[in-house]
Each structure stands twice: as structure tokens, then as C-alpha cells.
């Protein structure tokens, strides 16, 4: 059984560096390739930023990240106690549109889906839980 690492912080944008450092620290101790490391950091950034912006409309809250690596498979779980919301249900953007036709947003969650092997949402014990899995 591999040990799980945990970091819990106030869900604020300024905490992004801490969350990304946590991901790097976990992956670097498991000989992760630079490419997989960047992809996982980017995926976590998109999801964490969403939590800071939308999970707690009425004030302060917390976010927690849990991570483990087992048999070359990394599992990262981002948890918050805010408003139930599944960001994965959002429609994917039309990536065939020209630059002029495109809106400038809506790419974040789509990028997450392209950067990891699996991403799952679950509302459990009063918390939003997003789980990312990727083979290193």
C-alpha cells in the first residue's frame, strides 16, 4: 500500500503555487517524466482555479489535494466543501472554430480531459471530489 500525501489550504488563488509545488514534489519523488509532470500540474491548476473562483460564492472555504503513486499510476484527488458542482458536465468547446469566431474562455476543463488518462467527479460526504489518474 502506497502512502497518500495530503495538503489542505484555504481555497484562494494565491494558494496555486503551493498546490502546484505539492504536485511537483510528489511526482519528482517517483521519477516522473517532465512531460507528464507538466500535464498533471496544468490539469490540477485548471481544477484548483475553478474551486477558488466558484466553490464558495458566499465567502471563505478550503481545498484539499491528495496524491499517491502506485505501480506507475498517479492518482490526484482535489476536494472542496463548497457548492456541489461537476465541472466535467460542461460542453467541450468547438476547437475547429477560427480565431475570430472563438470565445476566449472555456478551454480549461477541456484541457484537463486531454492531459490525463481519467478524470472523475463525485459528490461525497458533502464534498466535491475530482479524481485524476495518469500512467507515468
Amino acid at each position: 500500500m502506497n502512502e497518500e500525501s495530503v495538503l489542505k489550504i484555504p481555497a484562494r488563488l494565491e494558494g496555486l503555487d503551493l498546490i502546484l509545488s505539492f504536485v511537483s514534489f510528489l511526482l519528482d519523488s517517483h521519477g516522473c517524466s517532465p512531460q507528464a509532470r507538466t500535464q498533471l500540474r496544468m490539469a490540477v491548476e485548471e481544477l484548483y482555479v475553478n474551486v477558488t473562483l466558484y466553490a464558495y460564492p458566499s465567502g471563505d472555504g478550503w481545498a484539499e489535494i491528495r496524491g499517491s503513486v502506485e505501480d506507475g499510476m498517479v492518482t490526484l484527488r482535489l476536494i472542496d466543501g463548497g457548492t456541489p458542482f461537476n465541472p466535467l458536465e460542461k460542453d467541450d468547446p468547438d476547437i475547429m472554430l477560427s480565431g475570430e469566431e472563438r470565445g476566449i474562455g472555456g478551454l480549461g476543463i477541456f484541457m484537463v480531459k486531454t492531459m490525463v488518462d481519467e478524470v472523475e467527479y463525485e459528490y461525497r460526504d458533502g464534498c466535491n471530489q475530482l479524481t485524476l489518474r495518469k500512467q507515468l
Binding site: D17, R41, E100
Partner: protein
């Protein structure tokens, strides 16, 4: 993130060094707001920046639209492997000039 602008007449080149993420994208946006007036050819050099999140892409798309309106051009140069993946996955490689 370190941003190094070089202006030559109506040409502007900005070298990016570090990660273009949610926290640093506003720095690029602010620099572009300050320097973009009168620029016809914008080059963004990604030789030292291979991490671009959706917040960075938003700044690039907004700038691309601004340059189109001004009948100017925008090019991304020295794009690394990770950033190229992001551009291809989002279809933006076909939108921006990527070199």
C-alpha cells in the same frame, strides 16, 4: 515569470521565461496593454516557457483578436513540446502562427 520586451519600430518581440499560469497571465496582459499600441508584428518567444495553462491561452486569444482588428500579426516562436501539445489539443495551432 520574467517578460523581456524588445521594440523595433512597429515590431514587438516579448521573451517569456517561466510558467504562463493563472497567477502570471495578468503580468503578460498588463505588459501587452502597455506596449501594443502601434505594433503591427507581435512575436512571442516561448523558448524558456513550456507551461501555458488556459489562463495563458485566454491572453493569447484576446491578443490575437486585438492584432487582427489592428490588421497586424501575431506569431509564437520556439514553441516547446508541452505547449505544442496544448495548442494541438485545443486546435489553436491552426489559429495562431506557430513556429
Amino acid at each position: 515569470m520574467k517578460l523581456t520586451p524588445k521594440k523595433n519600430g512597429t515590431d514587438l518581440t516579448i521573451q517569456l521565461s517561466g510558467e504562463l499560469n493563472t497567477l502570471t497571465a495578468p503580468e503578460l496582459s498588463a505588459l501587452l496593454n502597455k506596449e501594443l499600441g502601434g505594433v503591427k508584428n507581435l512575436t512571442l518567444d516561448f523558448a524558456d516557457c513550456d507551461y501555458v495553462s488556459s489562463a495563458g491561452l485566454r491572453v493569447l486569444l484576446a491578443t490575437f483578436k486585438q492584432m487582427k482588428v489592428a490588421k497586424g500579426s501575431m506569431e509564437l516562436t520556439n514553441v516547446g513540446e508541452n505547449f505544442m501539445d496544448v495548442l494541438q489539443n485545443t486546435g489553436l495551432d491552426a489559429v495562431f502562427g506557430v513556429f
